[in-house]
């Protein structure tokens, strides 16, 4: 008798981690990860897409039970919710249109308009490092919209998770328009200690189960198996 757990993640496409197909199924690396974790921890998981913008309230008001949505572990978030150990960690990249040369540094981005997804660590980072150095930071509800506006010429650059950006650059649209300008200088205080599973505070039993499951799938090779299908490098970081 497995316990019923509602797994929340953003209802908008975030390839290659989560994206819906036309039959309404969600697929992507994070979906695979979630399946593996739930199987390992013997949890009966139901995936529940919610608006990214309200994902933490959804967790605290028990609309969902855990968040597996590429949510970085940060100090600020830890005030409200709890996290499992990290399950992946990737660098942060900046992309821009082809044919315009600049670097992913405060100087390089000065005077440019840079798009980020709202309430991500990237927003805070961009505000601190670029916004205060002459760049305009524009917030988007979804990563997809930011990419879209970059392709549409409304933005000069987009900062996000390097992997998410990579997926975009590999798409037809991304191939046409844009390229990686580089990764930003790390700031763990803002960019966090990797991505973890969001949990309500005080649910230590669940947290323990999840940590054990992460550890288990990493050790038994499941993690690497499904990761290979998506990435040609080590997504867990180190």
């Amino acid at each position: 008798q497995a316990e019923q757990i509602k797994v929340g993640f953003a209802a908008e496409p975030y390839p290659p981690f989560t994206s819906p197909d036309a039959s309404g199924n969600w697929e992507g690396w994070e979906v695979e990860f979630q399946k593996a974790i739930c199987a390992e921890a013997k949890l009966d998981c139901v995936i529940t897409p919610v608006a990214w913008d309200g994902i933490i309230p959804a967790l605290t008001s028990k609309k969902i039970d855990i968040i597996i949505g590429s949510m970085s572990i940060t100090e600020e978030r830890l005030k409200t919710i709890d996290f499992s150990d990290k399950y992946y960690n990737t660098p942060t990249g900046v992309i821009g249109p082809k044919g315009v040369a600049f670097e992913a540094t405060p100087e390089g981005l000065s005077g440019k308009t840079i798009g980020v997804q709202v309430s991500t660590v990237h927003q805070d980072y961009a505000n601190k490092y670029f916004g205060e150095n002459g760049a305009t930071v524009k917030e988007y509800q979804t990563q997809d919209e930011a990419n879209q506006d970059l392709a549409a010429g409304r933005l000069d650059a987009v900062q996000a998770d390097a992997i998410a950006l990579d997926a975009f650059l590999k798409s037809d649209q991304g191939k046409e328009c844009c390229e990686l300008k580089g990764n930003v200088k790390d700031d763990p205080a803002i960019l966090g200690a990797g991505v973890g599973i969001g949990i309500r505070k005080g649910e230590d039993e669940l947290k323990g189960k999840l940590n054990a499951a992460i550890k288990a799938i990493r050790e038994n090779g499941t993690y690497d198996t499904f990761s290979k299908a998506y990435f040609d490098f080590n997504i867990y970081g180190e």
């Binding site: 913008d53 309200g54 933490i56 309230p57 605290t60 008001s61 600020e76 978030r77 005030k79 409200t80 919710i81 709202v118 309430s119 927003q123 524009k138 917030e139 988007y140 509800q141 919209e145 879209q148 392709a151 549409a152 010429g153 409304r154």
Partner: protein, 278 residues
């Protein structure tokens, strides 16, 4: 096929000047009791909830309110300018124009504003950069921005709803008053400018009030296309602080105040041209 006239629903949906309480009406025993309870709720909300974030965001909130109001007034004004011909054409125009105008009103009133907004911004907006002519034109710096799309969508929506109201208002001006104008030798243009239009606006004013309040309630939708209005500022607060209730409650309070001020302004305006009865 037309959607029923909006007048009644406007009144049901929008908080309008006649809903304002009078000062005297507060001093009834049960009201005083209720107000004490209410004050208690407010105080305990202020005491037990987290408001430490507020000072930090005040300037942003102020700017957000300015953006919201700018959105409201510009789109209501522009929308009204379009509404007049839309209404007029439906009353007197030749049939192709009539059909076009009523078709426009039906389509706009029959689809959600959110969808129209996204259609303009993500749909149309994503087409523009594919044409180098547009990309190189002087309009491009504006087309890159998001607010022109918000203004366009809100204007179109207001024009459609208010166009329907103006249609009723134009049709409702007593024929005798227009006839009196003609009987005094006024040209058609003079009759329109001096009698028909002011009279129609006068008749439409109460509904116009309501529609403007409704328009205020529609403005937060522009936050979904990256315009930073007061709603977007509060969204940011929510995402920064992960507070569920406090920012939203403050937001509701802000909109209530804005509505209240708007309605009081309208009452002032309405009192300038007295009407009798109703």
């Amino acid at each position: 096929m037309t959607i029923p006239p909006p007048d009644e629903t406007t009144h049901a949906m929008a908080f309008t000047p006649e809903d304002l309480p009078t000062a005297a009406s507060f001093f009834q025993p049960h009201r005083i009791l209720l107000m004490i309870i209410f004050a208690g709720i407010v105080l305990s909300a202020a005491w037990f909830m987290r408001w430490d974030w507020l000072p930090q965001y005040l300037p942003k909130l102020g700017w957000g309110i300015v953006v919201t109001l700018a959105m409201l007034f510009s789109t209501a004004f522009l929308g009204f300018l379009f509404a007049v011909p839309l209404g007029l054409v439906q009353v007197t125009g030749p049939w192709p124009l009539k059909l076009l105008a009523s078709g426009f009103c039906t389509v706009i009133r029959g689809t959600p504003l959110l969808l129209q907004l996204w259609l303009l911004y993500y749909g149309l907006g994503s087409l523009f950069p594919q044409f180098p002519e547009i990309r190189n034109s002087f309009l491009w710096p504006y087309l890159r921005e998001s607010w022109p799309y918000g203004v366009a969508a809100l204007t179109i929506s207001f024009a459609a709803y208010e166009g329907e109201v103006m249609r009723g208002a134009f049709a409702g001006v007593p024929a005798g008053e227009l006839e009196a104008g003609r009987a005094f030798g006024m040209s058609r243009w003079t009759v329109f400018r001096h009698i028909w239009l002011p009279r129609a606006i006068h008749r439409a004013l109460p509904t116009l009030n309501g529609e403007t309040v409704l328009q205020l309630k529609s403005t937060p939708l522009v936050a979904t296309i990256t315009v930073i209005d007061v709603y977007a500022v509060i969204s940011k607060v929510r995402q920064d602080t992960y507070l569920t209730y406090e920012p939203l409650l403050l937001l509701a309070l802000i909109y209530m105040c804005l509505t209240g001020i708007l309605v009081i302004l309208f009452r002032k305006l309405e009192n300038r041209i007295p009407t009798r009865g109703a």
